[in-house]
Symmetry: D2
Subunit: 281 residues, 4 copies
């Protein structure tokens, strides 16, 4: 599948979706986009910059939500113009789809909303590529129906994204089988290595996270075989206004990407035997 | 809490929210509302009629969704006028809230949407009582934040509803501890005895269900102690256009309610020791 | 099924298995057995005294394990002689079966060991009634095979016992459907209301527990319908040498049993519709 | 840690524990041991041959269990003598420990038994290296206590092994975080790539399995970083007498090991940032 000018798929090197969880300021957005662009250019990794204008589903009503749609889109557009990187951002209301699609190169839908038929179809119908996050409550094979709903709009640039499955209370588990199962959708499969280490609601009025497991899960997922990788990053995670506990330090991004890229290259040189289960009998 | 003219709470007999999952036709709606009204009148159970005008999150894009908002509201209004029962229906788009709130006596929000701050607040701001379903991905103590978001609009007629927690793939488990934990919200706690027996996505392109466990879970929940009970019912579940596998047969509703009412009466005559954990040391 | 001189089954009032988790001392054992015997006599509840001589699977190697087999059996025999109550205790080694079976009226097998074929059959072959605890890792329908292994020894006095299922890490959930599913074994189904509120390993080097949920789960299980109830109790749970956090205070046992007995009486006066799923179509 | 003459640990290439689940016959044992020995010799992978003499915890009492202890040990000894490979086998009774330890170079303990203090200590006390499988019901951090119990016997050649965690009914999930968490035991961490794809009890009277996910999970685990890999294999899995659905075809072992070895080499050339969480703040 063609995506923002590069090829996305299991037979191509992984692309990276990365950026701070929320748009905290114009300067932070520009700075992180440039830094990530330069890292990815050095490594030869296709890159899409991600940041959210509105965190619409924070645990508490008191939490920071972002600059809002219009100011957020203004900043994202500037990021794109000044750094030249394609932009992905998430949309959570049907009414926002068209105005967001004017700015964003790729749209993303939140995990909690993956079963809202009208919403998924409204986003897909905007004609931009869409990254659909799998609900924490959904079996991986059930993403086939979600992807098919999206494709029924005529949009064939659909991606599906694993971000952890509910595992008891206030915990998620990343089932690596899911990355293979979701290939049956025919869509590029993306692994979100940072939300997968969230502890939802684990700090009472906000979600916790275990940053140290990001490299563990990212290495595992790339070795399992993915088309894309999603990672939230921040120059100073402890000061991040949203999802800091599960953000990866920007200063450590290049070293992590380097090992992931090597694993990716290695596994994609070979066959994936799981894609031919009938030969394993 | 006052609700539709009766008292709702752990110190009062349970109220019933019941009806067919989807509005299949005007005649079915009228017929089921009358039947349920008469059963509840005989038993002295406060009753609110429930049916949905749009099933917005079916597994497959091909499934029956209902008559749509306007025709659905017309039917619900007629049900209310002709049978005299209060009406609850679920809303899944901010833009529908005001027009639905004109007809419905109580609004309900879907489990998948329980963390969408704007949506929950838009529904609560309509000023009608709201039944907030707990997400399958949420710990029961995290409903405190959800309820607080809703109450922050000034609406103090908020209910919280357990409908099962994700338990592996394509299965839900009803944690009876949840019914006690959610009392800490200060809101009446409702148990949804029919969605709790769903097997989400368990039939490939639709959700399955295990109807035979409805009475098991309903008895257990009432004995654990609830303010309200939610049950989808149908005169002929095998022919239901939505969620038939987890609908309770209308013809068996009275006998089931009778035993539930007896359990409810019995447990509410006593103290609930779990409400005073400090005395159990 | 005949058990210790009373009738056990869904059509009979529940029997109680209760006592302190571990045999802490002869005097505590005698005192608790007398107290429980007297409570159950007042209420008319068939009673079997439970206490363990060896806690063989504590989280930490440093924890209190009990008086050991021989001293423990001496105390249990004295309890039985002096109070006249039948005794149940758990065995965890094949080599102990015969000597324990000489003293105990009923044998119990630990949840972790429910799949050890030789062990289960060695216990069943002793000819005493056996209460088989379901593994935290087992689906309720899989207890059919476990029960059948036990019955294959010719022993038809087999009980199966729910004590919670693994639900993420350090947590258990009590699936009330399990109590109905396990009826298919043909064995009396017992609910363990105190281990079900354990938080396994939840305090680092020992298991935690949430005592306040004992009455919630016990009421729910009795309303779901059980043949027997299992509860660990202690005159002073805070001082208990084993499993204190999930022990029910002895001083509150009678009031809890009273409400459970009433629920039990009520639900067993009616039919259990879940036992005839074919009629619910 | 020194193990069977090679070095085991995160800073060394992974070792392989492999063989058919059960000892089906002397000739199969010899044939598979030779084949695996030769593959591992070509690749330079330290190898320990695994097969069980008794499957003591089959779902059904009717299933094939193996040749029994004495005949099984005779075959394993012959395998060792004729092929020169070290032997690992699992023991499930205290009384068997000493006789098994005479033949086996490494002992293994079953997952269900990981919390049986006496059993774990009896096995560790035999003085041979021990591979302790983590219970499906255990959090990874709780293996610290299990390992400490084993080490308390004076044996410091203890390994810990992930083989999947309970995830709803009849399913396991492999949490790759576990492989990092268990490093805190100080023991080499092993990943069991074949039992992790079991569907426990998933075929009614026996466990199912999803062979096609073996390479997915094995690649993921090696990329996460392990000291050892455990895989059951069979020349003709469809004809295997035990655990065929989750056995990897012997004929495909070399190609799978080759890619795993490359991933292993690659990730161990770098630092594991998760081992220094304090630097990630």
């Amino acid at each position: 599948m063609k995506l923002c000018g590069f090829e996305a798929g299991l037979q191509h090197p992984f692309f990276l979706i990365a950026g701070p969880c929320a748009i905290e300021s114009e300067s932070l957005a520009l700075r992180t986009a440039e830094a990530l662009r330069d890292i990815c250019a050095r490594l030869g990794i296709p890159f899409i910059y991600k940041s959210s204008y509105d965190k619409a589903n924070r645990s508490s009503g008191q939490s920071f939500r972002g600059p809002g749609r219009d100011e957020g889109l203004r900043i994202l557009e500037k990021v794109r113009r000044e750094t030249g990187v394609p932009i992905i951002t998430d949309v959570h209301e049907k009414e926002d789809v068209s105005v967001v699609a004017e700015v964003a190169d790729v749209l993303q839908t939140p995990a909690f909303l993956c079963r809202q038929t009208d919403f998924i179809q409204a986003v897909a119908a905007a004609g931009k590529p869409v990254n659909i996050k799998k609900g924490q409550f959904l079996a991986p094979w059930d993403m086939l129906h979600v992807a098919n709903k999206a494709k029924a709009t005529g949009n064939d640039q659909i991606m599906v994204c694993e971000r952890g499955a509910s595992f008891g209370y206030n915990n998620l588990v990343s089932d690596m089988r899911s990355l293979a199962v979701m290939r049956q959708t025919g869509c590029p499969v993306v692994f979100d290595a940072t939300h997968s280490v969230q502890l939802p609601g684990g700090q009472g009025d906000r979600s916790g996270g275990q940053r140290e497991f990001i490299p563990v899960l990212a290495r595992a997922a790339v070795a399992a075989g993915v088309s894309g990788l999603f990672m939230e990053t921040h120059p100073d995670p402890a000061q991040a206004l949203s999802d800091g506990p599960n953000a990866w330090p920007l200063g450590r991004m290049e070293s992590l990407l380097r090992v992931l890229q090597q694993i990716d290259h290695l596994v994609k040189e070979q066959d994936f035997p799981e894609n031919h289960p009938e030969e394993l009998a």
